[in-house]
């Protein structure tokens, strides 16, 4: 995480990307507030998904290139914990700004007041899942020169449930319906991926380094 702060401009890229993508939608679809409000959950979440995947490529990239990753493997520390720590650090750097910035997006997309808090909660619960599942994909593609393009193909199908549940929560909140069950599902997904994904990511890294 400290390493990431050495290049502060790069830190801004996922956030700027998110802003640009979301701002394209009103331009492409038209500024009608009702329409924007209807598509807002999907747009914000898809943009967050894209921003995550774009930033994910950097998760192990520099460590792989300068050999730090190999040192991690032979250091004797459990690789699972190291990947988990790297992923958490990545989430703090790449996804937390997205969550903090999301109220601005909600205003842009004319998202109803009721679902703004829910949006932040879905992002807070959902983006760690994206990072965790993504860490498996990054582990598999890190040794490739153009891993980033392949990465999106690998992880987007796995992101489908999160996208569905998160947008459903926001839509339910907009319509004044109960949404706690969706947040519960997201939390379940978070716990599941928190327990399983680091192992898979560590295995993937070992394969990539073999």
């Amino acid at each position: 995480m400290l390493l990431a702060f050495r290049r502060r401009t790069e830190l801004m890229f996922p956030v700027l990307f998110l802003l640009v993508v979301v701002s394209l939608f009103p331009l492409g679809i038209g500024p009608s507030p009702q329409l924007l409000a209807r598509i807002a959950p999907g747009v914000i979440w898809i943009a967050a998904l894209l921003a995550t995947v774009i930033s994910l490529d950097a998760l192990f990239r520099t460590d792989f290139e300068d050999g730090t990753l190999e040192q991690f493997v032979i250091s004797g520390h459990p690789l699972t914990l190291i990947t988990l720590a790297k992923t958490v650090a990545h989430w703090l750097v790449a996804s937390l700004p997205i969550i903090l910035l999301s109220p601005l997006l909600a205003i842009w997309m004319n998202l109803p007041m009721e679902s703004r808090g829910v949006m932040m909660m879905t992002l807070a619960l959902g983006t760690p899942i994206l990072s965790l599942i993504g860490s498996i994909g990054v582990g598999l593609t890190v040794s490739l020169k153009r891993g980033g393009q392949l990465l999106s193909l690998l992880v987007f199908p796995l992101y489908v449930p999160i996208l569905i549940i998160a947008t459903a929560a926001m839509m339910a909140a907009s319509d004044g319906l109960p949404y706690a069950q969706f947040l519960g599902l997201l939390l379940a997904g978070l716990i599941l991926s928190l327990t399983l994904a680091p192992f898979a990511a560590a295995a993937a890294l070992k394969i990539s380094l073999s």
Binding site: I133, L140, S143, P157, V160, A168, A200, A203
Partner: protein, 261 residues
């Protein structure tokens, strides 16, 4: 001395274990699969012809769907296969990763293109069936959507395998991805299903509710068996080819090729 021999011969006592052990060896696999493949193709051809005859000529047209119901005799077995092959691929990938069996890596990877082809057949035949029946080529129905996601998963496995140069490393990476996908697949399936009920209210079920007549069931089942043999034949052929390709510098390949000439 006595102990030594008994320890040595112990694993041979179980013929099944011995068989599995032998199949792990490339020359053995190559020979054995060479004998199996023609039979698989033959059984597939016979069964598929029979099923098509029953399905296209014998079975009656559906009173609701008309003649287009005959697409189902291809569509449903293909859909079954698309899911079966993914789970088999994940199982084989798991075996390959845990016990580091090279043949299993090859078999798992060889499954991916076949499964992807079945998925495409499912999607294409489903679209063609949907045009006259639902009035559109594509709806975001739960089944269609999860089949599409399944196709993406297959393409991810194939893409990952193709983009890593070293074949064994590529196979292991792709196997791991297949396992991750298999863990996610039920979640994806149910979330898509649920998403569909959320957004569309009612979904059209394929053979829903009504019991299916024997004259329509038989071609379906025979075709389902035929596709298994198609998979077997195709899988073994693919595995043999990639085995030859990977081992082209080894002596057993030279011997095997010399034998054929």
């Amino acid at each position: 001395m006595n102990m030594k021999t008994s320890r040595k011969t112990k694993p041979r006592k179980n013929p099944l274990l011995m068989f599995i052990h032998k199949m792990g060896s490339p020359p053995w696999f190559y020979q054995f699969s060479g004998k199996l493949i023609p039979w698989f193709w033959l059984i597939f051809a016979v069964l598929a012809t029979w099923a098509l005859y029953l399905g296209l000529f014998k079975a009656p047209a559906d009173y609701l769907q008309g003649e287009s119901v005959r697409i189902m005799y291809l569509h449903v077995p293909a859909a079954w296969m698309s899911m079966l092959i993914y789970s088999l691929m994940a199982v084989m990938g798991f075996i390959a990763l845990v016990w580091r069996i090279r043949m299993m890596e090859i078999l798992a990877i060889a499954s991916a293109p076949i499964g992807a082809a079945f998925t495409i057949v499912t999607l294409a035949s489903g679209s063609l069936w949907g045009r006259p029946t639902w009035g559109t080529y594509w709806v975001w129905d739960a089944r269609l959507t999860s089949e599409l996601v399944l196709l993406f998963l297959y393409l991810g496995v194939i893409g990952l395998y193709k983009s890593i140069d070293e074949p064994r490393k590529a196979a292991r990476a792709a196997c791991l991805l297949a396992i991750v996908g298999a863990v996610n697949l039920p979640i994806i399936h149910f979330s898509v299903k649920w998403w569909n009920t959320l957004h569309q209210g009612s979904s059209i079920s394929l053979l829903g509710g009504s019991s299916i007549d024997a004259s329509m069931l038989w071609p379906l089942l025979i075709m389902a068996v035929a596709t298994k043999f198609y998979y077997g034949a195709n899988l073994l052929t693919r595995a043999r080819v990639s085995l030859l390709e990977q081992d082209k510098r080894k002596s057993w390949v030279r011997e095997a090729i010399m034998e054929q000439d």
